[in-house]
Amino acid sequence: MSEHPSDEQLSLLIDGELSLTARAAVNHHLSACPACAERHDTLVELVAGLRLQPPLRWTPTLSKHTQARLQPRPHERDRALPIALALAIAAAAAAALWLPLAIGPGFARALFDVADSLLPGVLPGHTAMLALLAAIAALGGLAYPLARSR
């Protein structure tokens, strides 16, 4: 080996990661080149110094401490709960608004008649709409405590 070995080659030599051929070439160069031999020795001392440090070990105690710190994770069903609750509240509110339309004349009824004339046949009857909204509210209201109890 006529060229000086690189830092990487010296590092690999120290770690035993060079091929046999490359190792022989670098060692041959080191035996004839005091400057490179000094670089090599400096690296060897450095690595030896680092390896004096005891490795840090993961212990069963660390495992236990970590497990003890685990927080409950929000489950999928918990994320679905607000949706069921919101649906129940929205349906109940809509039913409450629809109630005046279903039970008697007045401004709300007049408003509905205007909307019905603009969209003939689209809006359901008052009683059917009220029943539908009440059913949605009841289902949503039931779904919430049922989901929580699971």
Binding site: G16, V44, G49, L50, P55, L56, W58, T66, L70, Q71
Partner: protein, 207 residues
């Protein structure tokens, strides 16, 4: 409880002859099995016992990476625990497109980067740092302890990826393949990082 699959070999006193790669170590692929989908899926569904298996399996490499970042045992242990707590919360979002270990190590690397930024903003007292290193070598001579502390203090000046590679290899005893897996880089990058780290620390000590 599964056996810890990441236990480094015990090293004797460093000598020229013992500085070769740890040949007795199993390949990285054997230590970090990809076929652990069932355990991961159970942990994703909230099974803490399954997650405990993953903690036992990957605690050591995560801790090693964190130590390469903090250079302080207590900080590394705290950071490694935080990595697992974050992994627990983030596990439902893990889609299995990579091995669990790859995902976990990426999480750990990000945590190390964040911690390094915080540490840079709040530098610790050098004397306290050196004392912590000396405490880890109770039986060594004063000269040896001082040398080791000086080397680690020089390592603290390195860029994070270089420092981690150096600590993973020369203190924690990981193989090149294992470092590549933990750092998420090709083997060639590990080689160059180690060489650059050693050269830089050598220059720092020579000043």
């Amino acid at each position: 409880m599964s056996p810890n699959l990441f236990v480094e070999s015990e090293r004797g006193p460093p000598t020229l002859g013992s500085m070769g790669v740890d040949r007795e170590l199993a390949p990285a692929s054997a230590r970090w099995p990809v076929a652990e989908r069932a355990v991961v899926e159970r942990a994703q569904r909230g099974d803490e016992a399954a997650f405990a298996t993953l903690i036992d399996r990957y605690g050591q490499p995560v801790l090693s990476l964190c130590y390469g970042s903090t250079l302080n045992p207590a900080d590394a242990e705290e950071l490694a625990q935080e990595v697992f707590l974050a992994a627990w919360q983030g596990l439902p979002g893990f889609r299995g497109e990579s091995a669990f270990s790859t995902w976990l190590f990426a999480l750990a690397r990000n945590a190390c980067v964040d911690r390094a930024r915080q540490a840079a903003a709040r530098p610790r007292l050098a004397s306290a740092y050196e004392q912590e290193q000396l405490d880890r070598l109770p039986d060594a001579s004063d000269t040896t302890r001082a040398t080791a502390a000086a080397i680690l203090a020089a390592a603290e000046t390195l860029a994070l990826p270089l420092r981690q590679a150096l600590l993973l290899r020369d203190v924690q005893g990981l193989s090149y393949e294992e470092i590549a897996h933990v750092q998420g880089v090709p083997l060639g990058t590990v080689r160059s990082r180690l060489a650059a780290a050693r050269a830089a620390v050598g220059e720092e000590l020579a000043r």
